[in-house]
C-alpha cells in the first residue's frame, strides 16, 4: 500500500512538473506579439530556462546525496511553483524571465531525483517504477502542449502561468508523500566555480549558434562567444580537476561503461529534443496542417512514447537495461530514417513519428539504471543527475544545431518553403546519424553485459 502511494506521488509530481515545463511551448512561436519584445530578447524565455535546468542538474545530485532526496525534491517543486507565480504576476518581461530561471532550477530536480528514489525504493521492480515515472512525464509533456495553446487562445499568457502554478501547487503537496530513501548522508561540498563556468559555457554555446544564424563567424557579435566558450570549457575543466567534490566528477569518465552510458544519454537527448521540438512545425510545412492540427498530430508519437516508457521498465527488469537501451536507440534511429525515406508525406510523418516515439519513450529508464549502477553505490543521486544532465545537454545541442540549419534556409527563392522542407529533412537525417552513434554506444554496453553474463555462467 505504502509502495503504491509513493509511486502515485512520484508519478503525479512528474506528470505535473512536466506539464509546467512544456505548457509555455505554444507561446514560443508568438513571443514578439505576446510580450512586445524583440525576438532576440524574447528567446531568452527558452535560453534562461535551459540554462538553469542544466545548472540545476549539475547541483541537485550532490545536494540530494548530502541532505537527502526528500527535502531536495520538496524544495525543487516549491522553487518551480514560485517561479511560475513570479512569471504569472510579472509586471514586465524581465520578471517573466526571472520566473523562468527559477522554473528551470526547480524542474531540474523532479525527474532525476524521482528516478533515484524509485531506484532505491522499489528493489527488483525499480525498472517498472522508473518506467511509470517516465511515462507520466511524457504524458505531462504532451498534455501541456495540447492544453497550453487552448488556455492562451481562450484567455492570455498570464492564464497559462496561473493554471500551471495551480497544478504545480498540487505537485508540491504530493511531494510531501515521498519517503526519504537516502541511507547514508555525505558531507555537502558544492563546486560553485564548476557549476557557474558550466552554466556560462552553455550560455556561450547557445549564443554562438544564435549569432551564427544571423551573421558570419567573423562578425563581432559572433566570434567573442566562441572565444568565451573555449575559455569557459577550459576554466570548467580546471575547476573540476581541483574541486574536492566536483559538479561533474571527471573520474567517472575513466570507466568505459559510464562513458558509453553518457554517450547514449547525449545522443538520445539530441534525438528526443530534435524530434519533439521540430515535429509540429514539420507537420505544418510537409502536411499543410494548422497550428492546432499540428499540435494534435504529435499525439500518436506521444502515445507510443508513453506505452513504451511503461513497458521498457518491465523489459529492463526482466531482460536487463542494456537490451532495453539497444531497442530504444535502434527504434529511434529507424523512426528518423522512415520520416525521410517514405515518399508519401502523411505515412512518413505518422509512421516515422510513431516508431521514433516508441524509441524515445524507452530511453530514460535504461540509461538511468545503467548510469546509477555503473556510478557505484552511495552516489546514485549524483550519477542520476549526471545522466539526466547529459540528456539535457543533448537537448540543448540538438535543437541549437537544428535551429542553425533552419536559419540557413534561403527565403528569397520562389521555392522557399521547399527549401525549408529540405532543411527539415537534413535535420531528421542528422538525427538519424546521431541515433546510429547512440546505437553504437548501446551495442558496446550490450556486448559488455553479455560477456559478463557469460563469465558468470
Amino acid at each position: 500500500m505504502r509502495a503504491r502511494r509513493v509511486l502515485l506521488a512520484l508519478v503525479g509530481t512528474n506528470f505535473l512538473s512536466a506539464m509546467g515545463i512544456t505548457i509555455v511551448v505554444p507561446l514560443i512561436s508568438n513571443l514578439e506579439q505576446i510580450f512586445g519584445v524583440s525576438s532576440a530578447y524574447g528567446i531568452w524565455i527558452i535560453t534562461l530556462f535551459m540554462l538553469s535546468y542544466a545548472m540545476g542538474m549539475a547541483l541537485i545530485g550532490r545536494l540530494s546525496d548530502a541532505i537527502g532526496r526528500r527535502p531536495v525534491y520538496i524544495a525543487s517543486m516549491g522553487v518551480f511553483a514560485l517561479g511560475l507565480l513570479i512569471s504569472a504576476l510579472a509586471p514586465h518581461f524581465g520578471w517573466v524571465l526571472f520566473g523562468r530561471f527559477l522554473q528551470g532550477l526547480g524542474a531540474s530536480g523532479s525527474l532525476p531525483i524521482a528516478q533515484t528514489i524509485a531506484y532505491e525504493h522499489f528493489g527488483k521492480r525499480k525498472g517498472l517504477a522508473m518506467g511509470a515515472i517516465t511515462a507520466a512525464f511524457g504524458i505531462g509533456v504532451v498534455a501541456a502542449i495540447n492544453l497550453g495553446g487552448g488556455i492562451y487562445q481562450a484567455f492570455d499568457w498570464r492564464a497559462v502561468f496561473y493554471v500551471t502554478f495551480a497544478l504545480s501547487l498540487l505537485g508540491w503537496g504530493l511531494s510531501f508523500e515521498i519517503p526519504e530513501t537516502l541511507k547514508q548522508r555525505k558531507s555537502l561540498r558544492l563546486d560553485a566555480g564548476g557549476i557557474l563556468t558550466f552554466g556560462a559555457a552553455i550560455a556561450a554555446f547557445m549564443m554562438l549558434f544564435r549569432g551564427l544564424s544571423e551573421s558570419s563567424f567573423a562578425d563581432a557579435s559572433v566570434w567573442p562567444y566562441a572565444a568565451a566558450l573555449v575559455a569557459l570549457v577550459g576554466a570548467f575543466l580546471v575547476f573540476e580537476g581541483r574541486a574536492k567534490a566536483p559538479a561533474i566528477d571527471l573520474d567517472l569518465f575513466k570507466m568505459p561503461a559510464f562513458v558509453a552510458v553518457i554517450g547514449a544519454a547525449v545522443t538520445g537527448g539530441i534525438g528526443m529534443f530534435v524530434f519533439q521540438t521540430f515535429l509540429p512545425s514539420f507537420a505544418q510545412i510537409s502536411l499543410g496542417y494548422t497550428v492546432a492540427q499540428a499540435s494534435y498530430s504529435i499525439n500518436l508519437m506521444a502515445a507510443t512514447m508513453v506505452l513504451t516508457a511503461g513497458a521498457t521498465g518491465a523489459l529492463s527488469d526482466r531482460f536487463g537495461p542494456e537490451r532495453a537501451l539497444t531497442f530504444s536507440l535502434a527504434t529511434t534511429t529507424l523512426g528518423f530514417l522512415l520520416i525521410t525515406a517514405i515518399s508519401q508525406p502523411t505515412w512518413a510523418y505518422y509512421i516515422g513519428s510513431a516508431i521514433a516515439g516508441a524509441g524515445l519513450g524507452s530511453l530514460m529508464t535504461p540509461i538511468n539504471v545503467i548510469g546509477m549502477r555503473e556510478g557505484g553505490q552511495g552516489r546514485e543521486g549524483f550519477t542520476s543527475g549526471i545522466v539526466s544532465l547529459s540528456r539535457t545537454l543533448g537537448g540543448i545541442l540538438g535543437p541549437t544545431i537544428a535551429g542553425f540549419v533552419l536559419s540557413q534556409t534561403d527565403f528569397s527563392s520562389l521555392f522557399a518553403l521547399d527549401n525549408l522542407l529540405r532543411a527539415y529533412f537534413r535535420i531528421y537525417r542528422f538525427g538519424m546519424w546521431v541515433g546510429v552513434v547512440g546505437f553504437g554506444f548501446a551495442m558496446i554496453l550490450l556486448i559488455r553485459s553479455l560477456r559478463k553474463t557469460g563469465v558468470q555462467r
Binding site: Q284, S286, G288, S412, S413, L414, F415, A416, L417, D418
Partner: protein
C-alpha cells in the same frame, strides 16, 4: 519558250528575295521581344514552375503581378502546403508571409541582392524591361521546337517561336507567343540537366493594376 521560262524564273526569284527580305524585317522575334519588354507597363500571369532537383520534382503555381521597374507580388495557389504564401517586393522592401507557419519576414533589399523572381529566368528579364540586356549577355540561337503551346488556364493554343539563350552557367530554352513575343514557356538547363521549367498558364500584358497589391504590411 526557254527564254520566257528563264525570264519568269528570274522575276519569281526577285519577288521571293523581296518577300523574304521584307518578312525578315517584320518578323524578328528577338527584336519584338526586346521592344515589348521595354514598353511593358504591367504584367499579370498565372505561372507553374517545376523544380527538378536530385530526382525530386517540386511543383508550385502562383499568381504573379509585376509593374516595372520594381513592384512585384506573388501569391501561391498550389500545392495546398504553400497556398496563400505571399511575396511582395516594393522598391527596396521585401516581404514574405508563410501562412502555414504564421511567419512574416521583412527585409531591406540591396541593389546586388538576389530577387526571387530571378528563378523565372528570361521571363523575369522580360517583365523587368531588361530583355535586350539579358540577350546581349549570352549567345542566342533560334531552335527547332514544338510549334504550338497551350495556355492551360486560358484554354488557348498559341503558335510559338523558340530560341536558346546560352549563358555562362546555364542554358535557357524560351518559347515566345508569335502574336506578341511574350515568353510562355522556359526550360532552364544547368550542365545539360533540366533544373527548372516555367509554364505560363494565362497572362495579361499592360492591363490595369491596383497599387494596393504591392502594399507591404507594417512590421
Amino acid at each position: 519558250m526557254m527564254q520566257s521560262i528563264r525570264r519568269f524564273s528570274g522575276v519569281m526569284l526577285l519577288v521571293m528575295a523581296f518577300v523574304t527580305s521584307g518578312l525578315g524585317q517584320t518578323y524578328d522575334p528577338m527584336e519584338v521581344v526586346c521592344t515589348m519588354s521595354q514598353n511593358l507597363t504591367a504584367y499579370s500571369a498565372t505561372i507553374r514552375m517545376i523544380q527538378h532537383r536530385g530526382g525530386n520534382d517540386s511543383v508550385i503555381e502562383f499568381a504573379f503581378d509585376f509593374v516595372p521597374p520594381d513592384r512585384m507580388r506573388i501569391v501561391y495557389t498550389a500545392p495546398a502546403t504553400v497556398e496563400g504564401q505571399t511575396i511582395i517586393l516594393n522598391a527596396d522592401r521585401f516581404y514574405t508571409y508563410i501562412p502555414s507557419l504564421h511567419r512574416s519576414v521583412w527585409k531591406q533589399v540591396g541593389e546586388d541582392a538576389s530577387n526571387p523572381g530571378e528563378d523565372m529566368g528570361f521571363l523575369f528579364d522580360f517583365v523587368t524591361g531588361t530583355a535586350s540586356e539579358a540577350l546581349s549577355q549570352g549567345v542566342v540561337d533560334v531552335v527547332e521546337s514544338p510549334e504550338t503551346f497551350v495556355l492551360e488556364r486560358a484554354g488557348v493554343t498559341l503558335d510559338v517561336d523558340a530560341f536558346a539563350l546560352e549563358l555562362d552557367e546555364e542554358r535557357q530554352l524560351v518559347s515566345l507567343n508569335v502574336l506578341d513575343a511574350a515568353p510562355v514557356a522556359i526550360s532552364i538547363y544547368s550542365s545539360e540537366s533540366l533544373v527548372m521549367e516555367i509554364h505560363v498558364l494565362e497572362y495579361r500584358i499592360n492591363g490595369d493594376f491596383d497599387e494596393a497589391w504591392f502594399a507591404i504590411p507594417e512590421e
